[in-house]
Amino acid sequence: MNQLPFLVETEEKEKEICVYIHGDLDLASAPRLRETLLPLAEKDSRTLKVNLKNLHYMDSTGLGVFVAALKLRKIINGEMFLEEVPKKIQRIFQISGVDQYITIA
């Protein structure tokens, strides 16, 4: 099976930033998500909404980026939501216990 191309898009609004993730999130593509998501998580006080509708696959490296973002959000008391999470990806957040720490809308 061919790997889907990975893409991160952001859309800035007055009170929130939306991040859209497409494709396969793994060891190779995780650095690109890290570059985009972590600075926003660390410094931006607007609500951070991450849409996973087009996220096809995620491994533990990918989960690690969300965990790192979550830690950064906690420091600045910022909010972070995950939206339109496919069932396959939801399971990863459930099994890891991260779903208790991150709001899945």
């Binding site: 533990s60 690690g64 890891s96 216990g97 991260v98």
Partner: protein, 334 residues
């Protein structure tokens, strides 16, 4: 630099007036000095052209223009060459680091499960997808009569992951005479990972403690795949799961503990997600690969052979594409 330029001028002019092998050889030796002094190729070309002009050698206009063109090429060539050298050095350093980590890692895994309990058998297999594995498995005796077994997946690579693995292994060795319950062991390891490991790392772990006196197996999970329990009498499967966050994220996590009683022929299978992951499917991953393998296995065989069968079935299903590390540990009451 001035001396180098003077020397270049000397051997070049000598060559023009009286060409010979020894000037060419001198030029070859000079090129090593030029590289050592980091002189870019465009500077050498500029020097060459200036020496020719200063000594009255006139270039036809087209030749002069062609050298201007060549100068531009040499500028980019020089930059690309420097970048390549820098990347090669970084690659070499990384390879050296990985070799150290691999060598460290090999010493951490047990080669057998020498538990000494006559009514228990353990089979296991662990194969990395790349040079280094993120999977870890280990066992320790708790007091005289209990056996602790863990399977873990360390999310992170290279030396930080190998160090984390090493820390967990040595922490487990210190628990040899301890009779902490499974969930308290996870609590202890969670604080250890949070305090000492690289902040980018986290660990999933499934911990079990078996008491041969009561045949009770207690278990606790930190964000790990559920274990698969097979009951010999009913030939039924059950997932064993408890709530608990992955290790290394939050110091205030409370880990759950549950228990089952094993009867003769019952077994549990601990595994990492590489075994059950189906990258080509949109459905949530579950352990149906293992259930299928067990259903088709000859369960009268030793645990190790059943584990080998499960592993083979898993890789057959993925057409031998090992995208992730695979670890399976089977614990059976005889």
């Amino acid at each position: 630099m001035k001396q180098v330029k003077e020397y270049y001028k000397k051997i070049m002019l000598h060559y023009l007036r009286n060409p010979g092998e020894h000037q060419l050889y001198a030029g070859q030796q000079l090129s090593k000095s030029l590289i050592e002094k980091d002189i870019p190729p465009e500077d050498i070309l500029a020097l060459h052209i200036n020496i020719m002009k200063e000594n009255g050698y006139i270039l036809p206009r087209e030749w002069e223009r062609s050298f201007q063109f060549l100068m531009e090429i040499m500028v980019s060539f020089g930059m690309a060459y420097q970048e390549r050298q820098s990347l090669r050095l970084k690659k070499k350093q990384l390879e050296s680091e990985i070799n150290v980590a691999i060598s460290m890692q090999k010493k951490l895994y047990p080669h057998t499960f020498e538990h000494g309990f006559h009514d228990l058998e353990v089979g296991f297999i662990s194969t990395p997808a790349r040079e280094m594995s993120g999977d870890f498995y280990y066992y320790t005796k708790h007091g005289k009569n209990k056996l602790g077994i863990l399977v873990a997946d360390i999310a992170g690579k290279g030396i930080p992951a190998a160090l984390c693995m090493s820390m967990i292994k040595y922490a487990m060795d210190t628990l040899e005479n301890d009779v902490k319950p499974a969930n308290m062991i996870l609590d202890y390891l969670n604080r250890l990972v949070l305090k000492n490991a690289d902040p980018s790392l986290f660990v999933t772990m499934f911990y079990t403690i078996y008491d041969p006196l009561t045949s009770i197996l207690t278990y606790s999970s930190a964000g790990h795949e559920p274990a698969l329990y097979y009951q010999a009498k009913s030939k039924k499967f059950q997932d064993l799961n408890t709530k608990g966050l992955i290790l290394g994220v939050d110091a205030n996590v409370k880990y759950e503990e549950k228990a089952i009683q094993l009867e003769s022929g019952d077994f549990i299978v601990l595994y990492t997600d590489g075994v059950t992951e189906r990258k080509d499917s949109d459905e949530p991953d579950d352990n149906s690969i293992l259930r299928e393998a067990i259903s088709s296995a000859d369960l009268s065989l030793p645990a190790q052979e059943i584990v080998n069968h499960m592993y083979q079935h898993a890789i057959d299903e993925k057409n031998y594409q090992l995208d992730d590390d695979h670890t399976i540990v089977m614990i059976r009451k005889k």
